[in-house]
């Protein structure tokens, strides 16, 4: 899956939180769903719902080739003291500059050190990476499982 779409989603979510919107819609793809669930598990978004371009589904709707173009993921955005919980969501790997790290490098990065050109992790940051099997994991999970992976994006 191209990272261009993920970059668009990152940008869109940042724009939505800046506009203080309660819900944001992103295209319905496997990568976006995995990232959205990662954000949900880390507490950056309040809900993840499937839906159409018009809004979240009230009853589950089957995804078919006829309606795939109108399917969307609806994310509930969180705010605290009038400030967005998810204020930064940026790509680390770019479409033409992929960052694949070994488990050792991932360990260094997770411990707060600079790896190559990537700025070190801040305490409040969460990094998502894609393993060789195509799973989307949190950086710490990948380090625990001793996996290599491609760094996708960082959220804070």
């Amino acid at each position: 899956m191209s990272l261009v779409n993920l970059a668009n989603v990152c940008c869109h979510l940042q724009n939505c939180t800046m506009a203080r919107l309660p819900l944001a819609k992103v295209p319905y793809t496997r990568l976006h769903l995995q990232i959205a669930l990662g954000l949900y598990n880390e507490g950056f978004v309040s809900s993840v719902q499937r839906g159409s371009i018009n809004g979240p589904d009230i009853t589950p709707v089957e995804v078919t080739p006829d309606n795939i173009s109108t399917r969307r993921l609806w994310l509930g955005l969180k705010y605290r003291n009038n400030k967005p919980v998810l204020s930064h969501l940026r790509l680390i790997s770019k479409p033409n500059r992929r960052v694949r790290l070994t488990n050792e490098e991932l360990g260094h990065f997770a411990s707060g050190k600079r790896v190559r050109f990537i700025p070190p992790m801040k305490p409040d940051e969460v990094v998502f990476l894609r393993t060789n099997k195509g799973e989307i994991l949190n950086l710490y999970e990948a380090v625990k499982k001793q996996l290599d992976g491609e760094l996708l994006c960082r959220a804070s």
């Binding site: 319905y28 793809t29 496997r30 769903l33 995995q34 669930l37 993840v48 719902q49 499937r50 589950p60 089957e62 995804v63 078919t64 080739p65 795939i68």
Partner: protein, 320 residues
């Protein structure tokens, strides 16, 4: 605003709204400060205002009675009342009666207010009960175990693919659509071609015909027609006699002609044999009618012959 009945929209006999008897609270109540209201500790309040809310003063019905209709200082006995002049006795009794009625009305009001209060209390309790029950509501097992979780979407394919049958039907549908579209375009082209073909009979393709057409266009007859058209009064358009051109175009519409030649539809009907069929049916009808008329004529002839024979016979008999 006006005066009198005008004040009430020109209606007389409008009763005033019933006023409250007790404007202040009639009984003591323990006020509980609502949560998150007023000034917090350490926060100063504006000068000239109070830190705590001033509650209205309680004025009980007893106090009210004491103030407005207190008992007389002296209570007269029956003997004393009997000795009094009538006017004074009436005054004393009237005052006593008024006091009594006022007391009764206060008691009635207190009863009404208490009834209202108990009703409100009951209502709020019931509402609270319904709310508590709603809070306890749990999802049914069917709901809990059948609604898919978002994580479950990641297990299988994100989209349900079309079955072979569905793909086949879709293919056929698209093919049919494409063919229908092509057919429509071809038909339109054929219609236009037919029009052009019919119109081509009027085209000037030789020098002689061109000269003929030019001469005709600038002939006296044509010029007269144009001047006639220019002089037409628009009010009398409906009463004008129909021109030959109009009649011709009407004929074309009825016969399905375009540019004085057969239209595409007529050609199509002829080629498909539809026109032949119609022609055949018409011919058949014509033949049948002819035979029928012939038979009728023969029968008439026969009858005439019989009549003639009878007349001849009668004459012969008469002469004999």
């Amino acid at each position: 605003m006006g005066k009198g009945a005008i004040r009430f929209g020109g209606k007389s006999g409008v009763l005033p709204k019933p006023r409250q008897i007790f404007k202040q609270p009639y009984k003591h109540e323990v006020y509980v400060k609502a949560h998150d209201t007023g000034y917090a500790d350490g926060i100063i309040h504006p000068r000239g205002t109070t830190r705590d809310l001033i509650r209205p003063e309680v004025f009980t019905p007893e106090q009210r009675l004491k103030k407005t209709a207190k008992l007389p200082n002296k209570k007269y006995s029956e003997v004393e009342l009997g000795q009094m002049p009538e006017a004074q006795r009436y005054k004393v009794k009237n005052a006593e009666m008024r006091r009594q009625y006022l007391k009764e009305s206060y008691e009635g009001e207190v009863k009404r207010l208490e009834r209202l209060e108990s009703y409100q209390k009951k209502l709020s309790e019931e509402r609270k009960k319904i709310e508590e029950e709603a809070q306890k509501h749990e999802k049914s097992k069917a709901e809990l175990y059948t609604i898919p979780t978002v994580e479950s979407y990641l297990k299988g394919p994100l989209m349900k693919l079309r079955t072979e049958e569905e793909t086949e039907t879709l293919k056929l549908k698209r093919e049919a659509n494409r063919l229908a579209q092509e057919m429509k375009v071809k038909e339109e082209r054929a219609i236009k071609l037919m029009e052009l073909y019919n119109a081509s009979s009027d085209f000037a393709i030789t020098e002689g015909k061109l000269e003929l057409l030019v001469d005709e266009a600038f002939s006296d007859r044509k010029l007269k027609e144009v001047s006639k058209l220019l002089n037409i009064n628009p009010d009398r358009l409906g009463t004008l006699p129909t021109t030959i051109e109009f009649e011709n175009s009407l004929k074309d519409v009825i016969l399905g002609n375009v540019n004085r030649g057969p239209s595409y539809e007529v050609v199509e009907d002829t080629l498909s044999g539809f026109n032949d069929e119609v022609h055949e049916i018409a011919e058949r009808g014509k033949e049948e009618k002819k035979i029928q008329m012939k038979q009728e004529a023969e029968e008439k002839q026969k009858k005439l012959q019989e009549l003639q024979d009878e007349m001849v016979k009668d004459r012969e008999e008469a002469s004999n």
